[in-house]
């Protein structure tokens, strides 16, 4: 009886090992499919045009060249696009960190008439899909005389309803004792918010920074409808125009892939630096 039970368990553990090996084999194969496109992207950006067409699969350029990058940085508008994207991203991220946390704090903590209405309006606004707003946004930006200006590019992105929600949820999860103490000691509402509450909110603020940075760096359709001049073109818009064949004769994949690779770098760096937090942020959103 006990002998047969032992045999069953041993057979079972052999099966477990085999199953683990199979699991890792499948995972590794799928991971290769997910990672390889990015590796070949970087590799191809260092190949000459002819080689990119003749041996697209290879990860090691037979002839290594910086030509695509030289062309992008010295003979195209690419630096302008990059600067614009960086500028917009910094302004939008700063704005969202400040305004989202202000509003999130008020909705979580302050008692004021109309709070329920503001909250309901936020929920309503969040449910409108972004692509539906292409034409509407242009109409208002144009009407306000902001078309083709930094104001039109930055102002509409300066707050986002989802960010307000994240901050509100965070503030609701923090005990009130510390700020009540500050208020009893005579600090005003803003003073309490600025020097007591905000420093405690670092984890949530980092989440907002990540989401805003990624969102505004990758934003495309807002810039399509708010600008037209070359000086205000962002990376997304510029690289999209590259893809559809402007600036290039023939396919010129090394050039396009170099541009795509560079625009991926800042987000990739952000991703790897805050990796753990990004994963936890998505998980946290689910747990709430």
């Amino acid at each position: 009886m006990s002998g047969s039970a032992l045999r069953v368990r041993r057979a079972g553990s052999g099966g477990v090992v085999a199953r683990q090996i199979l699991l890792y084999a499948v995972l590794a194969a799928v991971a290769l499919v997910y990672i390889y496109p990015f590796l070949v992207q970087v590799a191809t950006s260092f190949k000459p045009d002819a080689e990119a067409a003749s041996s697209p699969v290879s990860l090691f350029p037979a002839t290594f060249t910086w030509a695509a990058y030289e062309r992008l940085f010295l003979h195209s508008d690419f630096p302008v696009w990059f600067t614009n994207s960086a500028l917009v991203t910094i302004l939008v991220t700063a704005g969202r960190v400040f305004f989202n946390s202000l509003a999130g704090y008020a909705l979580a903590r302050l008692r004021f008439r109309g709070r329920g209405v503001v909250f309901a309006a936020l929920v309503a606004v969040m449910s409108v899909p972004a692509v539906v707003l292409l034409i509407p946004k242009f109409l208002v930006i144009n009407q306000l005389g902001m078309y083709d200006s930094y104001a039109g590019m930055v102002l509409p992105l300066l707050v986002d309803a989802a960010g307000v929600f994240i901050m509100k949820n965070f503030f609701e999860s923090v005990p009130t004792a510390v700020e009540e103490q500050a208020r009893i000691d005579g600090a005003g509402v803003f003073r309490t918010f600025w020097s007591v509450v905000l420093p405690m909110a670092r984890p949530a603020l980092i989440t907002i920074i990540i989401l805003s940075f990624q969102g505004s760096w990758n934003e495309l359709n807002h810039f399509i409808v708010s600008t037209q001049s070359p000086e205000l073109t962002t990376l997304t818009k510029g690289v999209a125009s590259l893809a559809s064949g402007q600036l290039s004769q023939g396919s010129q994949y090394p050039l396009k892939l170099a541009a795509a690779a560079i625009m991926t770098i800042p987000v990739a760096v952000l991703f790897f630096v805050f990796q753990r937090r990004i994963m936890n942020a998505s998980e946290g959103a689910v747990k709430e």
Binding site: V26, P129, S282
Partner: protein, 372 residues
């Protein structure tokens, strides 16, 4: 003691005092920037676009000027009836996007779930690596991914080269307008529509063409959507899996259920709330195909990658048919809302056994604001 301090803290009746002092004003000042910006750049625009969708504005001057007149539902009629080019284009765009949704939503959901289950089974260190690898495509910009995809699926690109290794001849991906259902039917010798399929039309498109399936070009975009979104949804499933208590699974194990049965009958029912979230987010996202089309194909080949979102943009900004563009946007909005409601109804909680209900309650419902 506490009660007496509380009472003595508000002897006057003129507004709140104590530590609640000043909150009424502060609350509004704190939320004002958000209220103003969202009001001016989200709410007001929707109202203006509603007006444009029922006007004959041609893009010159302000849509609010007196020279612009009310035309009723003409713009909506032009894209949904009337037999013109506008109707046909809208029909084609709906056809393309419907097939896209039909394929992307189930595939990305199933793949995300599969990846989550696999990653969940890996040891701790491996878990981190694979999670990162699968999630990375989701954080990169849609423009960069589209550029990469155009290269991978070009005629002499990576995909066709790899296919040639196993002796298959890959198609001319982004230049191939043939629908994949038509191709499959062609293999059985059916190349021409017959009877009702050829004669009947919906939105200016014959039934035969509605059934064409996504074009080969659109299929490449379908693969791209699965590639970029499965990682995000995997994270949602993974979080839910990690929240599951092991005891129910253990009980099933003791009862002699094998791994397959345990997954379908124990794990999956507990993932229901997450499944609902993933399906809803997927459905909403899939009806908004725009960036890829703008960057990659602009609707070509043969209008088979045209989507309602891109058609709306194209009608307004490039063809100067602003009323029609706005009308398409609102119809699209209605479609998204309708689909979400249908899905909510289809996946509603049916009466289940008491034990199952207790199980479901232990899994937290998921409002998600993080997923793009």
């Amino acid at each position: 003691m506490t009660a007496s301090t509380a009472r003595s803290a508000r002897p006057r009746r003129t507004g709140p005092s104590g530590i609640r002092r000043g909150e009424g004003v502060a609350g509004w000042i704190f939320t004002l920037p958000v209220v103003i910006i969202l009001g001016v750049f989200l709410f007001l625009p929707v109202l203006m676009a509603l007006w444009v969708s029922v006007s004959d504005w041609t893009g010159r001057g302000s849509p609010l000027s007196s020279s612009v007149s009310f035309v009723g539902m003409d713009n909506y009629a032009a894209v949904t009836a009337g037999g013109g080019l506008a109707e046909r284009d809208f029909g084609i765009a709906l056809r393309n996007n419907a097939w896209y949704v039909l394929l992307v939503v189930p595939v990305q959901t199933a793949l995300a779930l599969l990846l989550a289950v696999l990653v969940n089974g890996a040891a701790l260190r491996g878990k981190g690596f694979f999670r990162t690898a699968f999630y990375f495509p989701s954080v990169t910009s849609s423009v960069a991914i589209t550029v990469l995809w155009l290269f991978l699926f070009s005629t002499n690109g990576v995909v066709n080269r790899v296919m040639s290794y196993v002796g298959a001849a890959g198609p001319n991906w982004f230049n191939d307008p043939r629908g994949i259902v038509h191709i499959a039917l062609g293999a059985f010798g059916i190349t021409q529509p017959t009877g009702a399929l050829a004669e009947n039309r919906a939105l200016g498109v014959t039934w035969w063409d509605w059934l064409a399936g996504p074009s080969v070009a659109m299929s490449a975009f379908i693969a791209m959507a699965v590639f970029t979104t499965s990682g995000t949804f995997m994270l949602l499933f993974l979080a839910a899996l990690q929240n599951l208590g092991g005891d129910v699974t253990e009980a099933a194990m003791v009862d002699g259920a094998n791994a397959w049965q345990r997954f379908w009958q124990v794990t999956l029912p507990q993932l229901r709330p997450t499944l609902f979230t993933v399906l809803t987010l997927g459905l909403i996202g899939c009806w908004q195909v725009f960036d890829q089309i703008y960057t990659g194909t602009q609707g070509a080949p043969g209008k088979t990658t045209l989507t309602p979102a891109y058609l709306s943009y194209h009608s307004a900004f490039l063809s100067q048919e602003w009323g029609q563009g706005a009308a398409i946007a609102f119809i699209l909005f209605a479609i998204i809302v309708l689909m979400t409601l249908i899905q909510r109804w289809a996946l509603r909680d049916r009466p289940v056994s008491r034990r199952r209900m207790l199980m479901a309650e232990s899994v937290d419902q998921a409002p998600v604001g993080v997923v793009r």
